[in-house]
């Protein structure tokens, strides 16, 4: 199972999709408490999934948003278009 088709990546894609949707909605309706509560709860879920994924496959984000093991993991292939 490659890093872009594993169940963990699917979960990351599902949760991040919900977060994008809620984010755009909240941009227009910043006072919607239910949407904000959903956003905050999924945001925490995303951080948990991201940490699990990164422990296995290396950093998901660059520029200091995730630490790297030795040697520098960011350069590892495949890149997302190469599956």
């Amino acid at each position: 199972m490659d890093r872009y088709n594993c169940p963990l990546m699917r979960q990351l894609q599902e949760v991040s999709f919900a977060l994008v949707e809620l984010n755009l909605y909240l941009d227009n309706y910043p006072n919607n408490q239910q949407a904000l509560a959903d956003f905050n709860s999924l945001s925490q879920k995303y951080q948990e999934l991201k940490a699990m994924y990164e422990a296995q496959y290396g950093p998901l984000t660059n520029f200091g948003y995730a630490p790297s093991q030795y040697p520098w993991q960011w350069v590892n292939e495949p890149w997302p278009w190469e599956v």
Partner: protein, 190 residues
């Protein structure tokens, strides 16, 4: 500042090459109603939006469009990657090959390069948001024509996702337009 996430917004796993479809699909990379035009349009319009909400929305939709640009690039890349020279010539991509080999370049389906003339930033938020709503509808229609041009489920599936995003963005821009209109009306004193 922007941060890259090393993942696609939506999975793409195309196993069968299809150069004709690659040629059609590349218009959503560098064509008039494509993802590059969308991303750059919203990104540059945001600076002169009148409210915090509209600045946020244009920033965030522009950012999502960059993710869509990567999905389209991945689809074109996977549709072309195993092609032979003979297949490239037969699909009418000889001209593209001469200029770009199999590199991704910002052109429409006929090889016309992307131009900033596709987009506008008028400085008038009502005009800009109307343009954005029209852009989403044009992109939605383009995805429907592209879906008609293939019978490969691995190609149709991400195209359906991208089509749905255009519908959502249109909705969000429409709400932003009403809010900005109200906000501008409130600022008028007689």
């Amino acid at each position: 500042m922007w941060i890259y996430e090393k993942k696609l917004q939506y999975p793409v796993n195309i196993r069968n090459g299809d150069l004709r479809m690659a040629k059609y699909l590349i218009t959503q990379y560098g064509g008039p109603d494509g993802e590059l035009a969308a991303a750059l349009r919203y990104q540059t319009q945001r600076y002169t939006m009148p409210t915090g909400k509209s600045k946020a929305l244009l920033t965030d939709i522009a950012t999502e469009e960059m993710a869509h640009l990567e999905v389209i690039a991945t689809m074109v890349y996977q549709l072309m990657r195993n092609a032979s020279i003979e297949e490239i010539k037969a699909a009418g991509l000889g001209g593209y090959y001469a200029d770009h080999d199999k590199a991704l370049f910002y052109v429409n389906g006929d090889g016309v390069p992307w131009t900033a003339a596709y987009i506008q930033a008028k400085g008038d938020p009502i005009a800009d948001l109307h343009e954005d709503m029209a852009a989403e509808q044009k992109a939605r229609a383009t995805y429907e024509w592209l879906i008609n041009l293939t019978d490969d489920p691995c190609v149709k599936d991400p195209l359906r996702f991208l089509r749905e995003r255009e519908v959502v963005h249109f909705q969000r821009f429409g709400e932003a337009l009403m809010d900005v209109q109200e906000c501008l009306d409130r600022k008028k004193f007689y």
